[in-house]
């Protein structure tokens, strides 16, 4: 009697054990399978970077944080054996990134005005050279080249390109993009997002993105301007930590000066041009700098007067011309001012900029001016004559800090200048442009 067959139970047991072992080993690790065509592969290393994560339609209506005019930098690597593909569809969905699921358009999002970069960050998806073009809708962007071999996306290649002019969703939170590419430049058999699982895409991939609230920061810097005039040399100011207008020397030495020579009483005469100094200091954060103007209380004659401004027997130098400071000579009755920047011996480390004299008041060493003629800008006009401008550096108008000037007032008399006490109140005005 023959046994019609034999069964090797050892072999069967081994096979069963192997099957069981495989089942047990895989029991705790469910692998996610997507239902795609046999040859479709995932785009790898895929991401979409936003230039602005703000949601649209919020309190920020323009600029960064508004969620409008946003650029999306799309990056991925095509499949290793996908071949060249010539079109790409990107669907934006609020519900999920799963290829083939229904796709709900994100609320408030519109990509209808999206434009493609002229030159890709990497790869060929660009309007120049490879002639890719955009067809965009509210929540979908289609990209296609001109169908020319070599213009498409090569396999196993990193593509990175920028789409601009997109409006983010108006909701805060996660939304998704689904991407699929096709061999031809007419999007293969794509119909809609839900039908992609059944179409002939070559590569695919889902991406999650997120809008979020914007951190809105506000801070205030007060406009500042500090200006003082003193008869004390700033080198004698001794306040700490800063040598500035708050120094006690400033208040203790008001800018009251007597021009002349001799003792016990100083006089001016035809033998000399006498001078006396005061100093000013300016600190301001005015973005566009500042000017210092000067007005003479003798508004009808602009010089020194012995009759309360009715006449100026010591007239402004050079007849008040505003054409540039000039030298003064003994024996000629004249009153003038020379302005010069002044550097202290030990400046504050924070000292910034300078207040540079105008040429009407400094046209070289020992030159003087007292402008009474420049229309609207002279010592007799409402706002006075500009004697200096604040410069942060060089000739660039801007903020200055603890910038000093030395103001040298000069006067001389002629042989026929009437005797008397000649006075003028010179008012200095600093004006910042913020």
């Amino acid at each position: 009697m023959n046994n019609p067959f034999t069964i090797d139970f050892r072999a069967v047991r081994r096979m069963i054990c192997v099957v069981v072992a495989v089942l047990v080993a895989t029991a705790g690790v469910p692998i996610l399978f997507f239902n795609h065509g046999v040859s479709a592969v995932q785009l790898s290393s895929r991401s979409i970077q936003l230039s602005d994560s703000g949601n649209s339609g919020g309190s920020i209506v323009s600029g960064v944080g508004s969620g409008t005019n946003v650029s999306y930098k799309v990056t991925f690597t095509t499949g290793a054996t996908s071949g060249e593909t010539h079109s790409l569809v990107i669907d934006f969905c609020s519900n999920d990134p799963i290829i083939g699921d229904t796709c709900t358009a994100p609320t408030g999002m519109t990509a209808a005005s999206a434009t493609l970069n002229a030159t890709a960050v990497s790869g060929t998806v660009q309007t120049t050279t490879d002639n890719w073009a955009v067809t965009a809708g509210a929540s979908q962007i289609k990209l296609a080249d001109d169908g020319t071999a070599g213009h498409g996306m090569a396999q196993n290649t990193t593509e990175s390109f920028v789409l601009s002019g997109i409006t983010n969703p108006s909701t805060v939170g996660t939304f998704y993009a689904r991407m699929y590419d096709y061999t031809n430049n007419t999007y293969g058999t794509y119909t809609n997002a839900a039908g992609v699982a059944a179409d002939n895409h070559v590569d695919y991939g889902g991406i999650a993105l997120s809008t979020t609230a914007t951190i809105q920061i506000t801070a205030r810097v007060q406009e500042q301007l500090t200006f003082c005039v003193s008869a004390a040399d700033p080198n004698t100011w001794t306040g700490t930590p800063n040598v500035d207008c708050s120094d006690t020397q400033v208040a203790a030495n008001p800018p009251s000066i007597i021009i002349g020579h001799g003792t016990p009483t100083k006089v001016i005469d035809s033998t000399a041009v006498d001078t006396a100094n005061v100093w000013d200091q300016l600190s301001t954060n005015a973005t566009h700098g500042a000017v210092i103007n000067m007005r003479n209380s003798n508004t009808t004659c602009g010089g020194l007067s012995a009759d309360n401004g009715t006449t100026c027997a010591i007239p402004p130098v050079n007849a008040g011309a505003g054409t540039g400071a000039v030298a003064m000579s003994p024996g000629t009755a004249a009153f003038g001012l020379h302005v010069a920047t002044y550097s202290v011996t030990s400046p504050n480390a924070a000292q910034t900029g300078a207040i540079d004299p105008t040429t009407e008041y400094n046209n070289g060493a020992n030159t003087y001016g007292m402008d009474t003629t420049t229309s609207g800008n002279n010592v007799e006009s409402t706002y006075g004559s500009t004697i200096a401008n604040a410069h942060t550096s060089g000739v660039t108008a801007g903020p200055v800090y603890e910038a000093d000037d030395e103001l040298t007032f000069a006067a001389g008399a002629s042989l026929v200048t009437p005797a008397g006490i000649y006075t003028a109140n010179m008012n200095l005005i600093a004006t910042g442009t913020f």
């Binding site: 996660t174 810097v221 903020p399």
Partner: protein
């Protein structure tokens, strides 16, 4: 001989026909998809032997019966309005803001500064280009994402939710050193190299002005962009 086959779980992918689809299928020891009380719902399974993320250099998988097939990234900003009041050249103003990031089924994420520094019309506050200590009287706007003791005790190191075995966010270099600050638009300030549960980051801001910092109202919409790689 008795052949015993234990109650194993077979995990299969999504199955679909023309009109129907079944997701995340398993046959296991027991479970429920949507058990709810008045206020809470739960998805449960019994008999899992291993859960969580497993990865190699090029691949990763989420183990367990209760997995989700949706990759996602989420960033939440936890405070959105900072008003510093008046800045003065003789003192430093500080502030903090926090944000949380998580990413799932991702190879990681990065968070970048997407905004210019504070501006006053056309004027932009100066910022250190390298991590720099705060200096009173020197115009500076800078940030870091760690705990600090200078110029004040403020800020915090990253917080991992629920703990560091599930959350892997890191502070980027240039922003991860205590007591030094910088700011550059486009800089990466935080990242993770893998899927991660929530990491809460705290941004520490410093504001210093000089005597010549232009007057006006300085504003900044600090936009943070989180990008996941899948």
């Amino acid at each position: 001989m008795a052949l015993l086959i234990p109650a194993v779980a077979f995990a299969g992918g999504q199955s679909s026909s023309t009109h129907y689809q079944v997701n995340e299928v398993f046959f296991g020891s027991g479970g429920a998809l949507n058990n709810c009380s008045s206020n809470y719902c739960a998805k449960e399974s019994l008999g899992e032997t291993a859960v969580g993320n497993t990865s190699s250099a090029n691949y990763q998988a989420q183990g367990g019966f209760n997995t989700d097939r949706y990759p996602y990234i989420e960033i939440n900003v936890n405070n959105t309005s900072i008003d510093l009041g008046v800045l003065r050249p003789n003192s430093t103003k500080t502030a903090t803001a926090s944000f949380s990031v998580k990413a799932y089924l991702a190879h990681g994420y990065e968070v970048i500064n997407a905004s210019d520094p504070p501006t006053n019309d056309a004027y932009t506050m100066q910022t250190p280009s390298t991590p720099t200590a705060s200096a009173v009287g020197t115009e500076q706007f800078g940030i870091n994402l760690v705990a600090n003791t200078s110029p004040a005790t403020f800020g915090a190191n990253p917080v991992y939710v629920p703990d560091a075995t599930f959350s892997f966010g890191q502070v980027a270099s240039n922003y991860n050193t205590t007591n030094v600050y910088m700011y550059a638009k486009g800089d990466e300030i935080a990242y993770s190299n893998a899927s991660s549960s929530y990491t809460t980051f705290t941004i520490s801001y410093i504001f210093n002005i000089s005597n010549v910092t232009p007057g006006g109202i300085y504003t900044m919409n600090h936009v943070l962009v989180a990008t996941g790689t899948y």
